[in-house]
Subunit: 219 residues, 2 copies
DNA sequence: ATATATTTTTAGACTAACCTAAAAATATAT
DNA sequence: ATATATTTTTAGGTTAGTCTAAAAATATAT
C-alpha cells in the first residue's frame, strides 16, 4: 500500500516516461511536483527500496514493471473519476482535474470496478486520454496534432495536449469538443494558422491552438 | 481547511456529543479513534487554537458552533457517499463504511452539492441515519428501539444502533431492511426476546437484536 | 479525610515528508 | 582539457501526527 505522496511520485514518473522514455531526472520530477530535488532524491530511495523504480545515483529513475502497473492503476482511477464528474455530476472538462487528483487516492478495488461498470466501461476520459484497463494496459490511438494535417484532410477531435483550464475554456467557447469533425480548409505558411471547417462553419485557428489539439484522421 | 486527521477528531467529538452531551473526555476520543490519550491532548490543543472546540485542561472538550458546523459537513459528505455506494454502485450496507471514511475527506463543495442533486437529495443514509443539510441541520426522527415497543404496536424499521458488519449481515439474512413494517406479536419477559411479524411471516428475535433496531411507530 | 486508583497532561522521542545549504558528480564551453 | 555551470546527493533541520513513560490532577473508596 502506498501513501498519497508516494502515489503522486509514481504517477508523475509514469507520465514523464511516456514523454521522455527512460531515466527520468530528479529535477524533472521536482518541477512537475513543485517540490525540491532533494525531496525527490529522498522519495526515490524509498520507492527503489519498494521495487517501484530502478535507481542508480545520478542516473535518473525508471519504473519497474510493478511500478508501471501501480501507476497505470492510479491513472485508471483518475480518469474514471473524471468521466464520472463530467457525465454524472455536470462538471466541465476544465473543472475535473483538481478533484480527480484527490479521488484517485481512494483505496477500494470494489469501488473502482463498480464505478467502471456504472459508467459503462468508458475507454477515454473527458480530455480524450485513454483509460487503462484493470491490468494496466491502455489502447493506443493513432492521433495527430491538428497542426500536422494537410489541406483537405478530415478528422475527429480526440484529445488535447495542453489541458490547462484556460485552453479548455477557450475550446468550449469556440465550440470545440471531443468527437467534433474537423476539416482543414487552408494552411497559412506564414504564421502556421489554419482555416478549418467544423459544424458547417468556417473558422481560423492559430498555430498554438492547432499544436495542442489531437485529431484522429478519417481513413 | 483541516487535515484528514483533524477532520477525524472533529467528527468523533461530534458523534460522542450526540450520545453524551458536553464535555467529551480525552479517553473517550482516544478509544473511538484507536489512539492514545496523549495524542488526543495534543490534537485538542490544536483544535482549540483553531476555535473548533472549547477546552479547559482536565475538563474535556465541547465543539463550538463553528466546530459543529464543520462536523456536520463531514458527516453530510460521509452519508451522501454511502447513499451513492449503495444506490449506484451495488454496495451492501455493511460494506460502505470503510470507503465512505475515505471519501468524506475529499474537498470540493461543487462535488458534494452535485452528488446531492444526482442522488435526488436523499434524507437518510443506508443505515437510516439522517443526512445534514448544507447548513449542518439534520432532521430529527422520533424513533424507538424495537425492544421498547409494546405488544401489538406496529412500526417501520428506520435504522440501526449497532452498525457492525456482523449485525448488518445478520439482518440481511433475516430479511430485515429499512422500510420494512414490523409488528410486535408477543414479548417474552423472561429473556426479553420478542415475536414479530414481518412480510406476513412470524419470527422470533432476541433482546440483543431488538435493542439495536430502531422503529418509527405507526400513528 | 486520607489513601488509592484512574484520568489527563507533559516531556521527550519517532517517522514521513518536506526544506535549506553545502558537497559531490556530471555536463558544457571555450 | 581544463574551467565553469548545472544537476544531484548528502547532511542536518522542521512540522504534523503519533508514541511511551512519568508527572500532575481528579475521582473513588474506605
Amino acid at each position: 500500500m502506498f501513501s498519497q505522496s508516494e502515489e503522486n511520485y509514481i504517477k508523475t514518473i509514469y507520465h514523464l516516461e511516456a514523454d521522455f522514455k527512460k531515466g527520468i531526472s530528479t529535477n524533472a520530477i521536482a518541477k512537475k511536483l513543485d517540490t525540491k530535488a532533494s525531496s525527490v532524491t529522498d522519495m526515490i530511495k524509498k520507492l527503489s527500496e519498494k521495487d517501484v523504480v530502478t535507481y542508480k545515483k545520478y542516473q535518473g529513475v525508471t519504473l519497474t514493471d510493478f511500478g508501471k502497473k501501480t501507476a497505470a492503476n492510479i491513472v485508471r482511477k483518475h480518469r474514471l473519476w473524471e468521466v464520472f464528474l463530467v457525465d454524472k455530476l455536470n462538471f466541465s472538462w476544465d473543472e475535473v482535474h483538481e478533484v480527480a487528483e484527490q479521488l484517485e487516492h481512494i483505496k477500494s478495488p470494489k469501488l473502482i470496478n463498480e464505478l467502471d461498470a456504472f459508467l459503462e466501461y468508458p475507454k477515454r476520459d473527458p480530455h480524450g486520454d485513454p483509460i487503462p484497463d484493470k491490468e494496466g494496459n491502455l489502447q493506443i490511438i493513432e492521433k495527430s496534432l491538428l497542426s500536422t494535417l494537410k489541406e483537405n484532410e478530415i478528422g475527429v477531435c480526440v484529445g488535447v495536449d495542453d489541458s490547462s483550464s484556460e485552453f479548455l475554456r477557450f475550446l468550449d467557447k469556440q465550440g470545440v469538443a471531443l468527437g467534433k469533425q474537423i476539416k482543414v480548409v487552408e494552411k497559412e505558411p506564414f504564421d502556421g494558422s489554419l482555416v478549418i471547417e467544423m459544424d458547417g462553419k468556417t473558422l481560423s485557428v492559430s498555430n498554438k491552438i492547432a499544436s495542442n489539439l489531437y485529431i484522429q484522421k478519417s481513413r
